[in-house]
Symmetry: C2
Subunit: 393 residues, 2 copies
């Protein structure tokens, strides 16, 4: 599948429009793209000739007439979407409409060298291809999300705090010998933001996806596109100061939201409540598991443990204070919350909301929705697939 770079601007805009719409009626496209009918028809003919889109036969259009549908096929191609998280790797082969054709998830650690992990990734891709009875050549593009900062142009990891051995590593190069297709790499929250944009069918243009897990990060969708900032560092919100008298963070500053409300801080606060005698239930869980996880604190909270509840409410309020600042500045339509900590109990999201509505300006919260990410299980792989497609064409 060569030739993406040879697409004309008109063909590229048309291909994008058909991609986002999943299925497009020929007659709708001219209006949506503000092209003449003859120009659209010429571009459609070219894209069909190149095998990038196909006609899917007559279907009822909104006006009651029958119109020819179009969808992206990439000559019966597949897109590989890879979501590498701190503890798991989720790998999927997707059709160009982001349907999952084959998928595999397995536990990993990103603390070690990246090379063995990418050898395994190659094997899993081959395995998934075999499940579908397909060859490597069927994959048209690969999108990869990683839990650390990425230099987007070079696709290399840039001083990733969770995975120091990945410094300067290029996932693109690691796969290039086996997969001679466009490969793009981005950080996990940008991938989640793209997956959410897909799941919303672009019905929202300006929103944030905030992940609260071992760290805290934010993906920014601005005017329907991922916004990465001038150095690719936009959305790196974990070290925003929410309390100048707060605890010291590993970054050297004080009061970073990550030091106060991410998973390690919640686990630490839980252990302190257990050891101080404040929470017998947390002590029980600590003794049973050897160490406390945020999930343990969430469990105790849902069982009604007051200390656990206070910890979760405090963490939610802290994240909410950081978000109130972002809401005042960015005035998004939605803030989607995800990540391991987001699911430990309803009190967490409730406290975030309370804190944001208390601290943000009335005008900025008039239409603001704060809610869990729509498809948490699929947003990563789908977002990786969307990244692969958008950047390749």
């Amino acid at each position: 599948m060569r030739g993406f770079s040879q697409l004309s601007p008109t063909e590229r805009r048309l291909l994008l429009e058909v991609f986002w719409a999943r299925t497009s009626a020929r007659s709708d496209l001219a209006g949506r793209l503000d092209f003449s009918k003859s120009k659209i028809n010429a571009a459609i003919t070219d894209l069909i000739g190149a095998g990038l889109i196909t006609e899917i036969g007559p279907r009822p259009s909104s006006g009651g007439r029958r119109a020819e549908g179009l969808r992206v096929t990439l000559r019966d191609g597949l897109i590989a979407g890879v979501d590498i998280r701190a503890t798991h790797m989720d790998i999927a082969l997707l059709s160009p409409d982001m349907s999952v054709m084959a998928r595999h998830c397995e536990p990993i650690s990103v603390r070690g060298e990246p090379e063995p992990l990418f050898a395994r990734l190659r094997d899993v891709l081959d395995l998934l291809l075999r499940q579908l009875g397909q060859e490597r050549e069927r994959i048209r593009m690969i999108g990869i999300g990683v839990p650390g900062p990425v230099d987007f142009e070079s696709a290399c990891l840039a001083t990733p705090p969770l995975m120091p051995l990945w410094e300067g590593f290029s996932p693109r190069q690691a796969l290039a010998a086996d997969f001679d297709v466009p490969i793009f790499v981005d950080n996990d929250v940008n991938i989640l933001a793209l997956g959410t944009l897909w799941h919303l069918s672009r019905s929202a243009d300006d929103f944030l996806v905030v992940k609260v897990a071992t760290g805290i990060g934010c993906g920014i969708i601005c005017r329907g596109q991922v916004y990465r900032g001038v150095d690719g560092a936009a959305g790196d919100v974990g070290h925003i100061c929410i309390d100048p008298n707060g605890p010291v963070c590993h970054c050297g500053n004080v009061g970073c939201v990550e030091a106060m409300a991410a998973a390690p801080a919640i686990a630490r606060a839980g252990a302190a409540a257990a050891r101080s005698g404040e929470s017998p239930r947390l002590l029980e869980l600590l003794q049973a598991h050897g160490a406390l996880s945020p999930e343990d604190v969430g469990l105790a909270s849902r069982e009604g443990d007051p200390a656990a509840n206070a910890i979760i409410r405090g963490a939610g309020a802290d994240v909410g204070r950081m978000l109130a600042t972002l809401v005042n500045f960015f005035n998004p339509s939605h803030v989607f919350i995800c990540g391991g900590v987001a699911t430990i109990g309803p009190a967490f999201l409730a406290s975030i909301r309370q804190s944001v509505y208390q601290r943000s300006l009335a005008l900025s919260t008039r239409h603001l929705a704060i809610r869990p990410i729509p498809h948490p299980a699929d947003a990563g792989i789908v977002g990786a697939g969307v990244l692969g497609f958008l950047e390749a064409i």
Copy 2:
């Protein structure tokens, strides 16, 4: 000058490109816009026919050959740029290349009713037209900046804290009977951001313009355009909390940056230092002027008064802490500082810089420049003119 709405997308893109470039060689445009030469030439012919652009004769092109230059003329039209600030109104008639043809600035108060002020604005526009020997019909569009939140679609003021009598007032309607042209209204910081974008010739795409005066506000340029957010409230950063143990703000929350570092807070801190005996110099200025202004505190600071210096450094550090958050989130290339407080002394900007570099992530500040706005005296009227042009076409 009717017919902006009848421009085709191609003509609109071409007109925009020629506008931003000030002068464009015909031969450069096809490449920059990715249009075919024949398409460009047809659009140029149409725009010349409509009187929107004109040929300015052969000029040396970069390749040594001679090319026809193009520039926007709007049929020898003028653009009115109006910058209404809390204490002054600055009014200019601009040519389409944003040269100031005539200009008038006078003191006003926005605390009163807006109608008399707009009657005066009409008179000033007529006066400036007479200076140029022109009629009202020569004005093609009007852009207006106001020191309060604007509902951009309706061009009405929305709960403006400085000017309660303007609630729901429409500057557009107030001028429509006398000037039958497109009129657009935006808040002062968005206007300053547009003026700065013009002065930078779009050499930066993602930057912030922060005004520190009676209040604190921020204009956001994202991908070369003003970003207003979903409710037009983006950049309303004055009530970002920088200290949960800080003073109570008039908005009801605590620790808002505006309550700690805007002009009234600096004046208050100066008066306290004067009355406590901490600063004899500030007491002298207080007695001489009846009340202390931020400029008085700046004067004392430049004379070496330690208390005044500490006040200014503290305010700069507070603004810097707020900006560190925005820099982590948005990763801009520049933060431009302006407004009355910005010019009270070099210590203010120095403290902002120190605070941002200490608190922001290394990756986000790698290429970050924090500096005064490039053309403070003209950014408002030029930005208002740019707004008028961009929104009208």
